[in-house]
């Protein structure tokens, strides 16, 4: 099984590269945070710097770990989508779902370990940048320098490897459990969906509850930010988990509009989303997370600025944390999104080859793919924005006393432009290239 797993990596280079990239970035972020925390705990660090250097990476690190695991699960799921025949063949000759999942987990373990080595080294660099930058802004004195040691960054790397391996085992569940002779039945699918829906609902409720606690706090309390930030992330994760349901809903409501657009690309896109929503689902998931987290955090910062003007030391600290959270999560989500979009488009080479053989131009095929991504973007933007605004309302009431201030125009527009730009540009470039080279055999 180990040899089969190793050979599979060589065979499925694109999927392996996607997983490696997600893990690499995850390790860079987490070991960077671990380095900062180790610096905070080091004996040579001045006492005044400790609180920031320990709390900041502790809060951020746990989010990063959760998001890395989530991204790996999705990436493995997409990569396995292109290996349906291989998995079915294995199941037919008697491999149990557990054996298939272990094979995928071993593959991921090898990939993640390979990616973790440069990841930890880059993590050292990230940690050093964070510590020196924070010292420059005056939040910490930085007198103790950057002293990450070896244990903390390496341990962070090992944690990401473990998270990726477990994530792969979890992410391969559906593919491994599928019947060796066909697709899962509708009944089975809805049974599998139930725990996910319950989890999504719970996360949204916990997120909103966390945000709502801001209402009972003092307007200048740091804890209002500390409660609303995670609230936004939880609501975004919960909404992202409901991507399938959102797509079904959108397909029903937007289908008429897509058909009216008239183009064959739009019509095909509508049909594709109806017949196989799972192909575009990962894009919706990552876009929703991106929009939800980025819009929520940037809105909070904008409200904070509106309420307090330039802000004091604590305000600056929170601003630094907020912007870094947005930057890191947004960068990570962009990579995961681009990865998944490329993988899912490349897997459709056969379908694009058939279209080409019956006379579809590269432009027509690309337009079909772009329409699908546009649909995914619309769904993610609407859900992500609604979620983030809902999570920020208590914060807005607390800071400015006005519900309407939860809608901060500029940050929201910036997030929407960034999200749609990344998604559509990736689709146009990859779609064109794949459609041009796909020829029926």
């Amino acid at each position: 099984m180990i040899r089969l797993a190793l050979l599979s990596i060589a065979r499925h280079r694109a999927g392996a590269a996607a997983t490696a990239l997600v893990t690499l970035v995850g390790v860079v972020l987490l070991s960077g945070m671990a380095g900062v925390m180790a610096t905070g705990l080091a004996a040579s660090t001045p006492g005044d710097d400790r609180a920031f250097l320990v709390q900041f990476p502790a809060i951020l690190g746990s989010w990063i770990l959760g998001i890395v695991a989530f991204a790996v699960i999705s990436t493995v799921g997409v990569a396995l989508g292109g290996r349906t025949d291989e998995i079915r063949g294995l199941r037919l000759i008697g491999a149990t779902p557990g054996q298939v999942r272990r094979m995928v987990a071993i593959e991921t373990l090898v990939i993640a370990t390979t990616a973790a080595v440069p990841g930890v080294l880059l993590g050292y660099a990230l940690g050093a940048v964070i510590v020196t930058t924070t010292a420059t802004t005056g939040v910490i004195s930085g007198a103790g320098g950057f002293v990450p040691g070896v244990l903390a960054p390496v341990l962070a790397g090992l944690i990401v490897i473990a998270a990726a391996t477990i994530g792969a085992f979890v992410g391969s569940r559906e593919a491994a459990n599928r019947s060796p002779i066909g697709e899962p039945t509708a009944k089975r699918r809805s049974q599998a969906a139930r725990p996910r829906r319950i989890l999504a609902g719970a996360l949204i409720l916990i997120g909103l509850a966390s945000s709502a606690t801001a209402l009972v706090m003092e307007p200048d309390s740091v804890y209002a930010t500390a409660a609303t930030g995670p609230g936004c992330v939880l609501v975004a994760v919960g909404a992202a988990l409901l991507a399938t349901e959102m797509l079904t809903l959108a397909e029903r409501t937007l289908l008429v509009a897509l058909h009216r657009l008239g183009g064959v690309g739009a019509r095909l896109a509508a049909t594709n989303i109806r017949i196989a929503p799972e192909r575009i689902r990962p894009a919706v998931t990552f876009l929703t997370l991106f929009v939800g987290v980025a819009a929520g955090t940037l809105s909070m910062q904008s409200i904070e600025n509106q309420a307090a003007g330039s802000g004091d030391g604590i305000g600056q600290l929170m601003a630094a944390i907020n912007y870094l959270v947005v930057l890191l999560i947004a960068a990570f989500m962009s990579i995961a999104l681009i990865n998944n979009l490329i993988a899912s488009i490349k897997q459709r080479r056969g379908e694009l080859a058939v279209m080409s053989s019956i006379g579809a131009t590269t432009g027509q095929s690309t337009r079909m793919l772009v329409c699908e991504t546009a649909m995914a973007t619309i769904v993610a933007v609407v859900v992500g924005l609604v979620g983030s605004i809902a999570a920020v309302i208590p914060f807005a009431i607390l800071k400015t006393g006005t519900v309407a201030d939860a809608v901060q125009g500029l940050p929201l527009i910036a997030v929407v432009i960034a999200a749609s730009g990344i998604a559509l540009l990736t689709t146009v470039i990859t779609g064109k290239q794949t459609a041009r080279t796909a020829r029926a055999v």
Binding site: M1, R3, L4, L7, S8, A10, R11, D85, E86, R88, G89, L90, R91, L92, I93, G94, A95, T96, P97, G98, Q99, S179, P180, I181
Partner: protein
């Protein structure tokens, strides 16, 4: 309940029914099929499209749960097994040969053949695998990978893989469907030789020439076994199939089941 096991029977089905609920009118793919397959026999299953032959094979091999009825394979009641036991059954008691070969392109010929044994957690007997590959005419190609072989050779690898665990029954689903005439003849001759050596084989096919290699042809129509033809010739099979197709067309025209 105690079941008396007839040692001359490799596989049997009792009142096997399978209905697909499509949301509208239910489709009866199998209607109470009773079937007994003798040990060491080579049986071909034929029938028009939608007659239930693939469903029969999937239910008999434990790949699909029937709506009602039972399947016995040796002393196992296939229909009572859970997913894990069914996977084990496929490793040790059943061999599969499919139209699309289903070989893993990353593995060599010998690794593909030995995979079911490795999945069972047993170290394969390399000399035995090499003998098996020599038997299917691939003794010189053990270290090749599937993409380096012709269709006929790939199918012979799949046959060797199906035989590695010395299964009670080999199921073949259109094993010559993707092959040219010459390769098809080689594969069918191999299956015939295996049956002559005592291997039970059940083959679903739409090709009268392929069916002529079997000991007996079962004809399915509308989910029932409607005819049997022992010691078939291509011509006899073609004539019966043609009659069945005419009957099916007439039934469709009048809306009456066969």
């Amino acid at each position: 309940m105690t079941i008396t096991i007839d040692k001359t029977v490799a596989l049997s089905t009792t009142a096997l029914s399978c209905t697909y609920d499509t949301g509208g009118t239910p489709i009866h793919a199998l209607r109470s099929v009773d079937l007994t397959i003798r040990r060491g026999s080579f049986t071909a299953i034929m029938g028009p499209s939608g007659s239930g032959k693939t469903t029969l094979m999937h239910c008999a091999a434990g790949l699909q749960k029937p709506t009602s009825g039972s399947v016995h394979l040796g002393d196992s009641e296939v229909t009572a097994l859970d997913e894990k036991s069914l996977a084990r059954l496929r490793r040790v008691a059943i061999g599969f040969v499919f139209q699309s070969f289903n070989l893993l392109p990353a593995l060599t010929v010998i690794e593909n053949v030995e995979l079911p044994v490795r999945l069972e957690g047993i170290r394969p007997d390399r000399a035995a695998t090499e003998r098996l590959l020599a038997r299917v005419g691939l003794g010189e190609r053990t270290s090749h990978r599937p993409p380096q072989l012709s269709g006929g050779q790939q199918q012979r690898v799949a046959i060797a893989r199906a035989l590695i665990a010395e299964p009670a029954v080999v199921f073949a689903d259109e094993p010559t469907g993707a092959l040219d005439l010459r390769s098809a003849r080689e594969v069918l001759t191999l299956l015939r030789e295996l049956a002559d050596a005592g291997q039970t084989i059940i083959m679903v096919t739409h090709d009268p020439a392929a069916a002529a290699y079997s000991d007996e042809v079962l004809f399915l129509a509308d989910g029932r076994i409607v005819d049997r033809l022992p010691d078939p010739t291509s011509r006899d099979v073609a004539v019966r199939m043609s009659a069945l197709l005419d009957q099916a067309e007439r039934a469709n025209a009048t809306g009456v089941a066969l």
